[in-house]
């Protein structure tokens, strides 16, 4: 697998090639761990997905029965797919561009920027468990901060049972998730902004370029790689959203916040069954959907934007 082209001597001379032994040494620790603790479990999961696993681990091959049940009759799964897609797309965009906005505010020499950099980052440091609890209180109908503020500023008509109403629950959880991760994106963007060559911004100044124009024509294009990569990271993070939803709504009300991850967990641990086959099938199908999506995206974008923090 690690064969280079040509003789041993040639390889040492080529700056972009290395001896198989060198490559192996570089890759081995990561690959071994990865093989043992990720690939192997994945294979077991794929294998599980075509089985029904009964009492004491007796397995029955069921072929694609799990999958056809999933595709044909499991309305919760499809609801979960829809919710996850909505959550992923909206929250990712809000997260990345919100983070950019915050970074720009700090970059524009807002007062107390060093302090704000810490304060604005605190949500990132809190665990989901605590964030979840706090925000359930904030969204509480009676004494939650959200409704109290609305009432205080005379918008009492807009008060909501934020997490209790299927129309607002997903959006409310989404807002909390974005709130938690904005600070992270902000820091990455801030570093990228500071890394921008000063001359470029200076030149724009000379061209009598306004802030908005500078942003649209200079800063954003130069931050493109950072934007793209934060979008990817964010996308993957949101796609697997679990903890926060599990704590805040448990997927309810009426499956309006059910995501694929919560559904998998529910089917694996919360149903009266030890059958791992079905939840494995859910996970496998989901994996395939995402993989197809990502391959499609790469085909569409076809560019080599890579990380530059």
């Amino acid at each position: 697998m690690l064969q280079g082209i040509g003789s041993r001597g040639r390889r040492e001379i080529d700056a972009r090639r290395a001896a198989p032994a060198t490559l192996t040494l570089f890759l081995a620790p990561a690959l071994l761990l990865y093989a043992g603790f990720t690939i192997y479990p994945v294979i077991r999961t794929f294998y599980n997905s075509v089985q029904t696993i009964g009492p004491q681990g007796q397995q029955h091959f069921v072929g694609f029965a799990n999958f056809s049940a999933l595709l044909q009759t499991d309305f919760v799964f499809w609801k979960a797919v829809g919710n996850t897609a909505l959550f992923t797309i909206v929250a990712t965009i809000a997260d990345v561009f919100g983070g950019l906005l915050l970074a720009l505010v700090l970059f524009a020499r807002a007062p107390l920027a060093p302090l704000l950099r810490i304060v604005w980052f605190t949500p990132v440091l809190m665990s989901y468990v605590v964030v979840g609890i706090i925000w359930v209180w904030i969204y509480d109908y009676d004494w939650g901060l959200a409704n109290q503020v609305l009432r205080a500023i005379g918008l009492g008509a807009f008060e909501q049972s934020w997490l209790g109403d299927p129309h607002t629950a997903l959006w409310s959880v989404m807002a909390t998730h974005v709130w938690k991760w904005l600070g992270f994106n902000m820091i990455i963007f801030l570093a990228a902004l500071y890394a921008l060559p000063g001359e470029v911004l200076g030149a724009a100044e000379l061209d009598n370029c306004g802030w908005a124009a500078k942003l649209v024509y200079i800063i954003i294009p130069m931050l493109r790689p950072t934007v793209v990569n934060l979008l990817v990271l964010s996308f993957i993070g949101k796609m697997m959203v679990f903890d926060l939803i599990w704590i805040m709504t448990g997927g309810g009300p009426l499956w309006s916040t059910e995501t694929v991850s919560t559904y998998v967990y529910k089917r694996a641990f919360d149903w009266n069954t030890f059958d791992l086959g079905y939840p494995s099938a859910v996970a496998v199908l989901w994996f395939i959907i995402i993989l197809a999506f990502i391959v499609l995206m790469t085909r569409l974008l076809r560019q080599h934007d890579r990380l530059e923090f």
Partner: protein, 270 residues
């Protein structure tokens, strides 16, 4: 000056929104649960510092804390080194198998961990690593390698080839180049992954609960769960536990955020 008013308003508003909940938790950590329930947003009438002592002494918090330090720091160090090695190799060398290996590692990013845990558990048993900190560390490392390799590989690929050529001509071999060029020049990306991995692992819960069953081996997030019972939600103690868990992270961040940002930018390759 008036032009800046909207900016200042925004800054003020977002500061309240982002820092408010943390301040709220901090305040609750020195109030008792009945006080909190009676008036959730009030300031403490009396500071109940003894709650910290109680959490620390009675609830095994010192053990949890120590375990968390061991597990998280070991895992983060291993993830960073192994991840950087693999990323360096994938970004720097052309070889057959480069793309498949990259694809293999990166596709690991999109696996839901809720499911992997079932087979992981059985595998840990096979390896006799169940209910050990070592097992948890290895699972953490494997679980976060993909994302780390992804971030680092992207960054390393941006380091100009000339730097490596120069080092090669200066007489350095592959491993020395990795150690003396890639790692220091890649520091900004390493900062990013270390921060991200540290935060995520410090709060990790699902693997910890399933893979560790002895109280003496539990980590901090499980300790906090201690106060979040099914019947009694001891809000005050949850807040206290959270403050114990979060304070070191915030202090570290406050001490180093400056260095971190400077590191991220100063080392950047132009």
């Amino acid at each position: 000056m008036w032009r800046r008013t909207p900016l200042l308003l925004f800054v003020l508003l977002y500061t309240v929104v982002s820092g408010g909940p943390f301040i709220w938790v901090a305040v609750m950590s020195v109030r008792t649960t009945p006080e909190i329930f009676a008036s959730p947003y009030a300031l403490p009438s009396r500071f109940h510092w003894e709650k910290f002592v109680q959490a620390w002494a009675h609830s095994n918090y010192s053990t949890y804390f120590w375990n968390s330090i061991i597990v998280v720091s070991t895992a983060v160090v291993l993830i960073t080194i192994f991840g950087a090695m693999a990323a360096h190799c994938l970004a720097r060398y052309r070889f057959r198998g480069n793309r498949p290996i990259r694809f293999l590692i990166l596709s690991g990013m999109i696996l839901p961990p809720q499911l992997l845990i079932l087979s992981l558990f059985q595998i840990l048993l096979d390896y006799h690593l169940y209910n050990t900190l070592t097992g948890l560390i290895l699972v953490y490392v494997a679980g976060h390698l993909a994302m780390t390799v992804y971030i680092l590989e992207g960054f390393f690929a941006q380091i100009p080839q000339d730097l490596f050529d120069a080092a090669r001509m200066d007489g350095y071999g592959d491993f020395e180049i990795f150690w003396r060029i890639t790692l220091p020049v890649g520091a900004p990306a390493l900062f990013t992954t270390v921060t991200l991995n540290f935060i995520v692992l410090w709060n990790e819960f699902l693997y910890a609960v399933v893979l560790l069953t002895e109280d003496d081996k539990r980590t901090l997030p499980l300790g906090i769960m201690h106060f979040m019972g099914s019947h009694q939600l001891d809000v005050g103690m949850v807040a206290t536990g959270l403050m114990i868990a979060i304070t070191p992270v915030i202090v570290l961040y406050a001490l180093f955020s400056d260095t971190m940002i400077r590191g991220m930018t100063a080392g950047a390759v132009r």
